[in-house]
């Protein structure tokens, strides 16, 4: 489902060149739940950004769902929209939009009617147990509820891959467990491939495999 070969990522500024990732090889088969661990600054989020096509590698090849990633920005946007779902540590909800409108956002970039969008968004919210909060604004929800809204937004387009960047990082352990339960459920029932960056060894142990990074290199 996800295949990385000899991936390098270098950040260049006028004065400094930083090697964020070096010679990363990774193969994630369909339906696997993988967690990525490592100390801060080891390149976990950079790796997730590359898999999520939010950034481009400096060298190496990346294939999603058996296809090498295209270089055209329009095509990348389409892959992000149709095949990938994102969950971020800071939720990234639009505070001026109601919960249902936030969840609809990925569907705005697909050809479908407003009614159809609304139906799918309502179903996604139902899936994360928030159908009663559709008309609320994000600021009216708790952190755990906001992360559930973010998960609903990530899965509303039924992507085959879910990328979660420290989804429990801003939550207490009870809420973190709640979020992990939802992710496991998606992985088990929908066969969604999940790559999750985490600092929490407890949550990482619940996944199928742990990939460890250190100073931009894969060490396990």
């Amino acid at each position: 489902m996800i295949k990385l070969e000899n991936i390098d990522k270098v950040y260049r500024t006028a004065r400094v060149e930083t090697l964020a990732l070096h010679n990363i090889n990774l193969d994630v088969p369909s339906g696997e739940f993988v967690s990525v661990m490592g100390p801060s600054g080891c390149g976990k989020s950079t790796l997730l950004n590359l898999i999520g096509l939010l950034d481009r590698p400096t060298a190496g090849t990346l294939a999603i769902d058996g296809q090498n990633v295209e270089t055209s920005e329009r095509k990348l946007a389409r892959v992000r929209n149709e095949k990938l779902g994102f969950v971020f540590q800071t939720f990234h909800l639009v505070p001026d939009l109601k919960v249902i409108d936030n969840v609809e956002i990925p569907l705005l970039y697909r050809k479908m009617s407003g009614a159809q969008r609304r139906k799918l968004a309502a179903a996604a919210l139902d899936r994360v147990g928030l159908s009663s909060r559709m008309q609320h604004f994000p600021t009216q929800l708790s952190g755990g509820q906001q992360q559930r809204v973010a998960i609903a937004r990530a899965i509303v387009g039924k992507p085959r891959i879910l990328l979660a960047d420290e989804p429990t990082g801003n939550l207490d352990s009870a809420m973190g467990d709640e979020i992990m339960d939802i992710l496991h459920e998606l992985n088990r029932e929908e066969k969604t491939t999940i790559v999750m960056v985490t600092h929490d060894d407890r949550f990482a142990r619940r996944t199928d495999r742990i990939v460890r990074l250190f100073d931009g290199r894969r060490v396990a």
Binding site: E73, A77, R80, V94, Y109, R110, G157
Partner: protein, 396 residues
Amino acid sequence: MIRHLLKLIWNRKRANALVMMEIFFSFLVLFAVLSFAFSAIGRWNDPLGYDWHDVWIVQLNVAGHEPGETDEFKPTLDRLLRETKTFSEIEAVSLADTPPYNMSTNSGTWMIGGKKIRITRDDATDGYADVMRMRVLRGRWFSREDDALNFVPVVIDSDLAGTLYAGKDPLGQKFDSDESTEWRVVGVIPPYRKDGETSARGMNMAFTRVSLVSPKGRAPRNMVIRVKPGTGAAFEEKLVRRLHDVVPDVPFTLTRMDRLRGLSLRLHLVPLILSSIVAFFLMSMVALGLTGVLWQSVTRRTRELGLRRAVGASGSGVRNQVLIEVALIATLAVIVGLVVILQLPLLGIFSALTPLVYTLGIIGALAAIYAITLVSALYPSWLASRLTPAEALRYE
């Protein structure tokens, strides 16, 4: 997408209020400036009601008299007219108090027939219509036979006729009166634009006849002369010599009307050009202000735009979204502006504007405000689209 963006705009109404206010006021200013510009352009091409080509003016610097007093200079003026007519280069000659493009104008508000009305007046002798090639629509211009009348004949333009005698035949109508004299309308001419191309519409012109036979009443001090086309400086010199022979003690100046016209137009156009420059700078400031406000607004939303990129929007999609959002904000501001502008005719403000100028003013202001707004939004929207989604999501 439009509905989604409208929701976003509505939910951000406080944040958007500043941009909307700026667009609203700019729209009103643009409407005012463009309406006056269109009105001036429209008026420029309107018929003047006379022909200024090949007309010379001799201004005699002799002190005038109060109306009603005896004017001892009248016989001299009569002699001057007769002498001037003897030249084969001259087609017609007459006297007028304030000929076109002359820097002085006799205008004011008169109470006529119970109506308070703003009128521009001039005193002229019998040949003035021939000199200025004025067409008479109804009735006639003044003639020598008018000396026998027991009233002072008046010729008015059709604007004044419509205002004063709407629905009635203006000929023979009493124009004005005092204890000893009565003025009556004997002719109607087309709208007369005394200040030429820059004149306002509806000057409401009225010419009063001046008799050179009767010593009573003040005679105009300007000889208005129509020369044959192509008459040049050599004749000018000849004419000046003859006039000097007739009135050796009277200082006078001879000016061609085309020169007066050039001077008058410059005088009228300078404020128009200056106000256009001010309006241009005003609009530039508005555009810069809008760019700043939109830039700040887009920068504040960088992470949201990054999120949109992450879930499927392309760079151009984000750019278009920002542009559409700005266009929608502009539309909401413009709708409020249009409501205000549509009240103006009902309140009698801008009543001098014709429906065409009014419509053109609205269309022009709409086109300009959308152009300014979209151009102002281009740079911020480009900035929003050039960040990678990862950079935008990390943006602090």
